[in-house]
Symmetry: C2
Subunit: 205 residues, 2 copies
């Protein structure tokens, strides 16, 4: 991946592309995500617990963007957004970008400690320090957007930090605890993802 | 809640209604769910990692039901389904109902060890031993169903086992490990939900 923006942190060295056929696995366990977008020279980032995989190939996602959030207009204007999977080290950042609004706080991103970076060919900002990123092209569905605040995206590129996702799998159990994904409930309370459990194969007689 | 079916297990004593305004919290952390439905005298249960909250009030959910799954026709026929949040004690059951199809295995539920029970006024089966249940009325959206396998439901009633969800909150950290919700990845591998993390309040100057 060529880097159109000077790398500002060492984390770039660990970012690797994720095969599109495996991209659903980045969201399959239901993490709370950050949604970022850029339009008309404005970048913004919000938190969303209501994001979900929708299809394997081509990979698609859903995300709920309330009419009150500033990021929604950027997504509608540019037709592009990024879902990123943040981690336990970012719990305060995630809660802050989910609480403050750019409408009230024009310097929201700086106040929340958000560092952005770019990826070649993607005209949307990515949030540094996350575990994974899915760049999505908006699949316009005006009825869903108006009636349900429900947005559909097709994943056009995905990346992950190889310290926690590699070879098509999460490696939470081998990584430092700061890499655990976050699963929001309410009132600033999250759960980190926990222990790996392997099911016994279903009996196939 | 009156009980239209004889209680078959002691777990019924711990099931309490969840306020509809708090029902989204049952799904907010992104657990893999079981989807159950009944139509024409047939009950079925499947697993779905792609289920998500969609709205607070009235609470709505989305769930992806592939055209190949037998449960889809039951949902389309009855206009009703139940999302239930299974737990670590049920990992083999969840993987089994997600792997076997009623199309190939008419006795799927018995083979998977699924015990069903009923709730008054809900003409759909509930799976015993889960942590929470959301009974949903299908909100018909033929385009979403046909184009994306995406189904929308309005939650009409919700219940939880008070040993793990009470007073509007999950209590994973105080409950036995068998109550942890399951978050599917692939190949029979799940993660259990983990540690509770409280974000520091966003600075509001």
């Amino acid at each position: 991946m060529e880097n159109p923006v000077p790398a500002q942190s060492a984390h770039r060295a660990h970012i690797a592309p994720v095969e599109l056929t495996k991209a659903y696995r980045l969201l399959n366990h239901g993490p709370t995500v950050l949604v970022s977008a850029r339009h008309g020279g404005v970048d913004n980032v919000m938190a969303a617990a209501w994001a979900c995989a929708l299809d394997f190939s081509p990979p698609k996602v859903t995300v709920v963007l309330d009419k009150a959030v500033a990021t929604r207009a950027l997504v509608e204007g540019s037709g592009l957004f990024v879902l990123q999977v943040p981690n336990a080290a970012q719990v305060d950042l995630v809660h802050a970008v989910g609480t403050l609004s750019r409408v009230d706080e024009p310097d929201k991103l700086a106040r929340c400690g958000v560092e952005l970076f770019g990826m070649d060919g993607i005209d949307a900002p990515l949030v540094a320090g996350c575990s994974a990123w899915l760049a999505c092209r908006l699949v316009p569905e005006p009825h869903n957007q108006a009636a349900y605040d429900l947005f559909i995206g097709e994943v056009v590129a995905a990346w992950a930090d190889t310290r926690v996702f590699r070879d098509g799998h999460w490696h939470f159990e081998d990584a430092e605890p700061r890499w655990r994904s976050l699963h929001y409930i309410a009132g600033g309370q999250f759960y980190a993802i926990g222990e790996s459990l392997q099911a016994t194969a279903a009996s196939q007689s």
